[in-house]
Amino acid sequence: MKGAAGETAGGLGPVMWRPNHGYDDVSTKTLGFWLYMLSDAMMFTALFAAYAVLGHAMNAAGGPLPGTVAHPTHAFTETLWLFSSVLAYGGAMIALKKGNRVGVMAGIAVALLVALGFLGSDLHEVTRLFAAGATPERSGYLSAFFALVFYHGLHVIVGVAWMLVMLGQVAVFGLSEAVVYRLLNLRLFWHFQAVMWVFMFTFVYLRGAII
């Protein structure tokens, strides 16, 4: 028998996955996924740091500055889209608590559709900026701006794809334990996007308007 956690003990396999190790499967998986989300948040941190540096006028290279690129009012409509989608997914979680399979699917479907609204609004804004000549390669500032916008948008796309997959899994497998922990992980992922958006809205769009 080996003493270290994670090694085999008595030929029963890794300690983490044996009964009585102190954590159930669902809690272990959600904690692991949460730690992954925090490492993802460090990616956001690095991009925010780059944006803070490249937002300086020196990096505009004669191109547009935050005041002409960031539109707080449009960003606020995006806030409404994203927060509404997060609320709808919360509704799915309340339905899950009650074991209401149809409610879970309805909540996810609404969250998905509203998230598509966010993506449409985001895409409209990016297209408008591109048409006006504000492209990522134009300056260091615009590179940092679009890196943040695209990185957050990528998360929303992943969230939408994940919701589609979960809709299928709930329909086919019902609310089994494997489906439930995936729904809980998706809750962590999706609700975390709302927290990241608070910083996006404040430090990219609002601060951009007052620089």
Binding site: N20, Y23, D24, D25, V26, S27, L31, W34, L38, T45, A46, F48, A49, A52, V53, H56, A57, M58, A60, A61, G62, G63, P64, L65, G67, T68, V69, H71, P72, T73, F76, T79, F83, V86, L87, G90, M93, I94, L96, K97, K98, G99, R128, A131, G133, A134, E177, V180, H191, F192, A194, V195, V198, F199, F201, T202, F203, L206, R207, I210
Partner: protein, 144 residues
């Protein structure tokens, strides 16, 4: 064993041990509640307040930056508690600890990077004529 675990789950004392009979009874599933609506209302209200302050130029730029930063911090805190259930309960304690330990990294990474480059700009990067002109925001080609 199964009945034993079931009773412990309902007692709410040792619910992270073993697997539950019903997945819906898992503590992390049971965390869902009306806090989501409160988070939504508070999030919209606080972001709306920040928007209003910026649009009305209610404060000087420095004070405005501090005010909207504080509002963002409050909104993020509320969302962490109400949406992500970051509490000191036995179910969530390690998630909360991980987040609390992450926050200094978040602040230090952004703060130190900004500070270092602020000094760099002041000491080593003399502003050329082109960059001075860039201080005035260049208009976009097409009107909004």
């Amino acid at each position: 064993m199964g009945i034993h675990v079931h009773l412990r789950v309902f007692a709410g004392r040792d619910y992270m041990t073993e697997s539950n009979h019903s997945t819906f009874e898992h503590p992390e599933v049971q965390l869902a509640g009306t806090g989501y609506v409160a988070a939504y209302v508070a999030g919209i209200a606080l972001m709306g307040l920040s928007l209003m302050l910026v649009k009305d130029h209610a404060l000087d730029p420095t004070a405005l930056g501090i005010a909207i930063s504080g509002i963002a911090g409050l909104a993020a805190l509320l969302q962490c508690v109400l949406l992500l259930h970051m509490t000191l309960s036995r179910t969530q304690i390690w998630q909360t600890v991980a987040l609390v330990l992450f926050v200094p990294l978040f602040i230090l990474t952004i703060g130190l990077t900004s500070w270092m480059f602020h000094g760099l700009y002041q000491r080593t990067m003399l502003r050329p004529i082109a960059a001075s002109q860039a201080m005035a925001p260049a208009p976009l080609r097409a009107p909004r």
